[in-house]
């Protein structure tokens, strides 16, 4: 047994690791928000990340996606060390995240907001707008087709020309997921995708995540809705006080006394 596996309760040395978090530490003053968190996410899985309030789930997401700088430890995506990189650089390595509260883009329609998703658009270079408008136009048309296709797949194509700020919270979550998919992530980090979403839309959301997973995207999702996460994720990693408490199949996690204790504050 290596040193690492002794320090974490997570399952290590998985076959095809797309995201690896290594003894990540983050403190805010005296509060240790992330305490040597170590785990791996295997390609092709929907990995759940649960834990009681204050367990450090969102901090961990911010550390992985580059929004916070870690005090110690390493994050690697596809075997490449991305620790300390800017969020956009980490995105270039194939890791995209969403946010707990849907982010609103004012003054845009849904399809405009969706068009922000694709990465490395030629039209994002100011010079190319004037030197090669044809390329920009062609890429924009292609992206527009992708947007229309993905909106249809998500069954929200009727929202395409609605103002992006005037749709319901649940629809915003769907749009956010759809937009993240346009960035073609290898691994997508979802921060509470089902929070504030009504049961019908929640089922739809779960369906979409499952479908996208079958098409090859790896997911890591934080979720408080136990029913949602247990039906969707395998394996489930339990976080408590900034470090990994255990990892296992949903049924293992649900019957584990340490997990129950953690949630009951024992």
């Amino acid at each position: 047994m290596s040193e690492q596996t002794q320090r974490t309760a997570a399952t290590m040395n998985k076959d095809d690791v797309v995201l690896r978090v290594d003894e990540l530490v983050k403190t805010f003053g005296a509060l240790v928000a992330t305490d040597e968190a170590t785990f791996e996410v295997e390609r092709g899985t929907i990995t759940g990340l649960i834990g009681p309030n204050g367990a450090g789930k969102s901090t961990l997401f911010n550390l992985i996606s580059g929004f916070y700088e870690a005090d110690d430890g390493r994050v690697s995506v596809n075997g490449t060390d991305v620790t300390g990189l800017e969020p956009y650089e980490i995105a270039d390595h194939g890791l995209i995240r969403t946010f707990q509260t849907p982010r609103k883009v004012e003054g845009m329609t849904v399809r405009e907001a969706m068009l922000v998703g694709p990465r490395e658009q030629p039209g994002e270079s100011f010079l190319k707008l004037f030197t090669s408008p044809g390329t920009v136009g062609a890429a924009e048309s292609k992206n527009m087709d992708d947007v229309n296709r993905i909106l249809e797949e998500f069954e929200i194509d009727h929202l395409a020309t609605q103002p992006a700020t005037k749709i319901s919270g649940g629809q915003m979550k769907l749009v956010e997921l759809a937009r993240a998919m346009l960035a073609e992530p290898e691994i997508l980090l979802l921060d509470e995708p089902a929070a504030g979403v009504n049961p019908t839309l929640r089922n739809k959301l779960a369906e979409q995540i499952r479908r996208l997973n079958e098409e090859g995207t790896t997911f890591l999702l934080i979720e408080h809705d136990m029913e949602f996460v247990m039906s969707l994720a395998d394996p489930v990693i339990v976080l408590d006080q900034g470090s990994v408490l255990m990892e296992g199949r949903p049924d293992e996690v649900q019957s584990d006394t340490r997990v129950i204790d953690a949630y009951l504050g024992g």
């Binding site: 946010f99 982010r103 609103k104 003054g107 068009l115 020309t161």
Partner: protein, 389 residues
Amino acid sequence: MSLVEDPKGYWTDLTVAEKGVSGAVVGFALLLVFSLVTGGLAPTYFLYLVGLAGMYALLSLGLNSQWGFSGLINFSVAAFFGIGAYGTALASASSSPLPYDLAPVVGLLAALVLAALLALFIGIPTLRLRADYLAIASIGLAEVVRLIVLNQDNWTNGSEGVRGIPGFFDGWPVLGTLPETMPTLVFGSGPGATVLNTPFWQALLNVGLVLALVGVSYLVLRRAHRSPWGRVLRTIRSDEDLARALGKNTYSFKMQSFVLGSLIMALAGVFYAHLNLYVSPGDLDPITTFYVWVAVILGGSGSNRGALFGGVVIVAIREGTRFLNGFEFIPFAAAPLRLLLIGVIIVLLMRFRPQGVLPPQRELIWPKTVDEAPEQLDSGVRETKAGER
């Protein structure tokens, strides 16, 4: 829908705001024509005002590409304007303490380079931070630039200002001597006659220059605004973290938007120097910054047409109020109240139309990308909410 092919369809396709603004513009133009014909407004002075309006339009376009596009709060509009004006003045004026006496075109380039350097200087430390820091730093920057211009006598002539600035076209093959070679035209007779002489042609040439500058800037910004580049900026304005999470290098985008806007402001300064033929540290007073902010907010943040409109309205208010003193029935000097008037307008605007008079009216997607879906054409961001039909 083209205005030429189908004027009626074009008109019905406009939004309420667009119709209102078009009507106001036409009405104002008629008023101006009336004043010109009746002799209430001297043609040469009128052209000077048009030049001033163009200058404010440029400044507003510049600020719009910073604040309107990316949400960058720049309180040093006057500094970039001043850098433009002083850059070209010092390079080309005969009384310049710098011994160059370059052509105005070289002065233009020098001014643009200076403005870009200044933008980088202030942008590099602040654009990685929260939005407020740029605002704070830019207030300081404006004062620092103004005080340097005022006190570095050996470079800038200090409070005396720079005189003897050549016209922009001086030394050009045909345009350089055009005002002198044009004939003097006289309309009417007696003391009320309208005389179109050399100063008039000079002013006309200046108006041509500013229209060209405004036109090019507007076309560049319009294309940029409708592009994926502009879309990233608009995302940054709403939520920078979202743009970062989607893999956009927001620092770079903000820097591009900031430098671009600063260059356009410097263009306005360059034009001003060659219009006024004299620049002084007073031109860098923060009041200019204030006027330009009012223009952009009035026109509608994020809208290039709104910025044009706002710039013209500001000049109309600033210069139009001078005529108020001529009305005998107003028992006090009304002109000094123009700042109060602008304040009242801003309060009313914020209360009743916070998005400005002419905010962006339609979806901003690269032209021809969505044209093949005509049933969705008229369902952008409109007054009548999209989809509720």
